[in-house]
Structure formats: C-alpha cells, structure tokens
C-alpha cells in the first residue's frame, strides 16, 4: 500500500466523517436550542427526531433552484461550491489519531502529513472569504452585497488576530507540523502539557476569533436576519443554500478541530500516551496492527469528544448571547484582541528567551 493510496482512503474517510457530522450537528443544534428554550424541537422524524436532518436534506434536494435574472450566472453557482471546499481541504492536514501499523509500516491517520500544516490550515481557512464575497456580489442584491462586505471585512480583521496568536504558538512549539504539535502535548504528569495551559491567552483569543471566522453568533452580522434578510445567501435556495449551510457547519468543525489540535492535545487521551495504549492492547493479546487500530480508535474517540465539546459551545453561545453591533465587533477585533495578541507574543518571546535560565 503506497502512501498515496492511504491518503486517498483517509481523504474519503475524513470527508465522510465531516459530512456525517454536519447533519448530526444540525439536530444537536435544533434539539439543544429547544432544550435551552424549554420547548420540544423536532421530535417526530425517527427516534428522538434523529431522522429530521435526512428529511431536511430531501427537502433541500427537491426544492426549486432559483437563479435571479440579473445575477452573474457562473459566479452565482460557483459561490456555494467555494463555501464547502475550503473546510474540507482544511481538514486534510488535521491529525485525527496516531498512526496505524499495516504490514510493519506506520501510516498516520491523517490525509496529508504536511510539514507546514499550521500555515496551510490558516491559508485554506482564509479562502472562506471568497465564497461569501462571490455569493454576495453575484446575487446582485443590496442585502447580499452588504452582508458580503460585512463578512469579508470581519473575517479579514479577525484573521489578523489569529495570525498573531499563531505566531506565539509557533514560538512555544517550535514547529509548524500539526502532528508534531500534538505529540508535544502528549507529555505531562500533573497537568497534560496542553497548549491550553501553556498559552491560555492565545487560547481565549483564538476561541473568540473562531466564532467570528465562522460567522456564528454573537458575530453573525453578515447574515443578521433583522437587518439584512439573510445576508449574502438571501437569493439562494434549494441545494445551493444547503451547501452554504454545510459549509458553515464544516467550517465550525474545522475551527473546533483547530482549537483541539493546538490547545487540547489533539487526539491524545489525557494522561495516557500512545505508547502506553499500544502496549496495553498488545498485552491484551492483540497483534501489532490490531493494537494500533484499537489505539487509533480510542484516540479518534478522544479527538471527537473534544471537537464536539467545542461544537456544543458554539450552540450554547448561539442561544445565549445577543448579536454584537458592527462597531463593537470591529472594536473587539482591532483594539482588544489584536493588542492582546501582540502582548502575548512579547510575553512568549520573553518566556522563550528566559526559559533556559529559569
């Protein structure tokens, strides 16, 4: 089995996982909001309403596709595709679990093990702007364009804070390789050596930015219903709208995975190293391949739990906090998060410089 084939398999697997996670998340969100608001929510389709996303999907698929007469025909269609594409690509560099040993060779559970994974992740997520901008402009609708403009400036503004925080993280870890970053977080006796404990400020800033990057409440101004009808996807219907929907949830997954990988030790099971786990399963009498597969399964579970924690917080926040005003949003991004990020960089530099002397 070549690395290329393995990558292809992993691509399918990860893609499928994300695509499964999206409808799951939809039902979680709808039921969760209902729960928080003391109402029932969708509970008719299947047990506990679990079939509801399927019904939604069917509904979207069969709805009429509407393309406005004055819209730019190509870009109008291209935009939803661009919305799904970056998050899926971005997921390719995120390590989901340790490595699987097949025929004596270790294969990392990851689509592409890239030496500059962190940079790549940032680069790809920054492309999300394109879909929003294109959608807003191609719709030839003032609400769409306003939403698109709001969205793009918001995303670009918060990307700067993200970049600054990533600088301090790189200073801490000394590498851009996400898998190595995860491995570095494996150690630790009392506390796991997670980024959360090494870079708490960066964690907070990045977490806030993650909300802004995915256009979620409290930063959902691009699609603020009360102001802009539905923002940049006002003119979209049917499957195209569904793609935007999926793109948003996929982006949330990427952001959660990003935070997990950088701050919560990625796929690491707390306090238990990959070595220990493998040895545990080997001791149970499994072969090397099976032991590694079992280990990876456990790690993937750990990873999923952490990601779903962040996903749940997304939902939680959405139904708890009101929407920001636009100037407040910009104030927060430029005048609070960015200076804090810069401060954090300086603190990190000082710490990195002084650490050998401490």
């Amino acid at each position: 089995m070549t690395l290329g084939l393995w990558s292809a398999i992993m691509a399918v697997a990860v893609g499928a996982a994300v695509m499964t996670g999206v409808p799951l998340m939809v039902i979680v969100e709808r039921r969760g909001s209902a729960w928080m608001q003391r109402r029932s929510g969708p509970n008719r389709g299947g047990p506990w309403g679990l079939m509801q996303p399927l019904a939604d999907a069917v509904k979207f698929a069969f709805k009429e596709e509407n393309i406005p007469a004055k819209a730019h025909p190509i870009l109008f269609v291209l935009a939803p595709a661009l919305a799904v594409f970056p998050p899926l690509i971005a997921f390719s560099v995120i390590p989901v679990a340790g490595s699987v040993n097949i025929g004596g060779v270790d294969y990392p559970v990851q689509v592409a093990n890239m030496s500059v994974g962190l940079l790549f992740l940032m680069a790809i997520t920054s492309l999300h702007v394109f879909s929003v901008l294109t959608a807003g402009w191609a719709s030839n609708n003032k609400f769409s364009l306003l939403g698109a403009l709001r969205s793009s400036s918001q995303m670009i503004s918060y990307e700067i804070a993200i970049g600054i925080c990533v600088v301090s993280l790189v200073l801490t870890y000394g590498t851009l390789d996400l898998r190595e970053i995860v491995k570095l977080q494996e150690a630790g006796s009392q506390l796991p050596a997670w980024g959360l404990f090494m870079q708490p400020l960066a964690f907070l800033i990045l977490w806030v930015c993650a909300f802004a990057e995915t256009n979620r409440l409290p930063f959902d101004l691009p699609e603020g219903e009360s102001e802009l009808v539905a923002g940049y996807h006002t003119e979209y219907s049917g499957m195209k709208f569904a793609l935007f929907f999926m793109g948003e949830y996929a982006a949330m997954f990427v952001a959660s995975a990003f935070l997990t990988t950088l701050f919560l030790g990625g796929y690491n099971v707390p306090f238990i190293s990959e070595e220990t786990l493998r040895n545990f399963f080997l001791a149970k009498g499994l072969g090397l391949s099976m032991a590694s597969v079992a280990t990876c399964a456990l790690q993937a579970l750990s990873f999923s739990i952490k990601v779903f924690f962040f996903m749940w917080v997304y939902v939680w926040i959405r139904w708890t906090l009101p929407r920001f005003r636009y100037d407040q949003l910009m104030y927060l991004g430029w005048k609070l998060l960015l200076p804090l990020g810069v401060l954090n960089v300086f603190l990190t530099i000082a710490y990195t410089y002084l650490r050998p002397h401490l």
Binding site: G4, H72, L75, M114, S115, V116, L119, F120, M122, A123, I124, S126, L127, V129, F130, L133, T134, W137, L145, L149, S152, I156, E159, L176
Partner: protein, 176 residues
C-alpha cells in the same frame, strides 16, 4: 508527490502547469474584470500547486495565505466595490502594430528567459529536496537581517499609507 526536478514531470505537474497557463491566458483575454480576478486567483492557486509539487510546502502555503488569501481577495473586493464594467483591449491609432510589437516583445522575453535559465547547470537536481520554515528563518535572522527589518518597515508604511488613503483626504470629500 515530491518531484525530482530532472525527471519527467508527473501527470499532476502537467495538470497544474496547464491550469497556470490557462488561467493566465484568461487574465489576458477576458474583458471582464471579475473574470480576470477569478482567473488571477486560479493562476495563483496553480502556482501554489506547483510549489507543493516540487516539494516547497512553505512557499506554497505562504502563496495561498498571502496571494490567494489577501491580495486576490483585495482585487476581487475592489472590482466588486467599484463595479467595473467589461473593458475592451486598448484601442489606439496603430493598435495592430502596437499589439504585434508588444506580443513580439513578450514572446521574445519568454524565449530569452527560457533560453537563459534552461542552461543553468544543476548538480544536485537528481535528489529530492525539502526546505522547511526553519531554513528560511535562519536566513532571515542572519543573512537578510537588514532586508527583513526593512521589509517590516515597508509593510508598516504601507499600512499607514493605505489607512490614510482610505480615509479619503486625497480624494474628493463625499457628502453621503
């Protein structure tokens, strides 16, 4: 997919190259600024793909991050914001002569570039080679120290300039 440079190009390389050439042609031929901007983005992406293909992931990632993620967005943004209508190519007296002259110059330039650079000898080309971010940072902090600082200063100046321009002190005051 880490290509060795003096072997025959892989199919991936061919595809990426074809895209780069195609999109750059579109930038030239299309009359619609939006199409040009999108095609520019396509070229930049194809180039990034070539970087990945020859094993320079760092430059590839930076290319996407800065060029595709920032510069191309700016272009699209401006084109959309100013709502530029499709343009024809230049129409001047003697346009045909000018066009052929410029085309010959460009073709000659391409030929010259190719001929000059293709002759460059390379001993190490037979093996794959990968540069990491560390290599670059070592250069930036030793060899190119001054240039690095100057570039930082340049970016700072550009930020200030852009802000000043955007505040509109140079243009006509709008009464909206």
């Amino acid at each position: 997919m880490n290509a060795v440079l003096n072997e025959a190009p892989s199919i991936f390389m061919w595809i990426a190259s074809a895209f780069a050439v195609f999109f750059s042609c579109v930038v030239y031929w299309s009359n619609n600024p939006i199409a040009c901007a999108v095609a520019l983005m396509g070229t930049l992406f194809s180039t990034a793909a070539l970087y990945f293909a020859i094993g320079n992931y760092f430059i590839g990632a930076v290319q996407i991050l800065v060029y595709a993620g920032a510069i191309a967005v700016l272009f699209v943004f401006i084109v959309m914001l100013l709502d530029l209508k499709p343009h024809k190519l230049r129409s001047l007296p003697g346009q045909g002569a000018y066009l052929s002259f410029v085309t010959i110059v460009a073709a000659g330039l391409a030929a010259l570039l190719f001929c000059t650079l293709a002759k460059t000898p390379s001993e190490e080309a037979g093996t794959a080679f990968q540069l990491s971010a560390k290599n670059y940072s070592e250069y930036f902090l030793s060899h190119y120290q001054v240039a690095f600082q100057a570039a930082g200063l340049l970016v700072f100046a550009a930020i200030l300039g852009a802000i000043q321009l955007a505040r509109g002190h140079f243009g006509k005051k709008e009464n909206t």
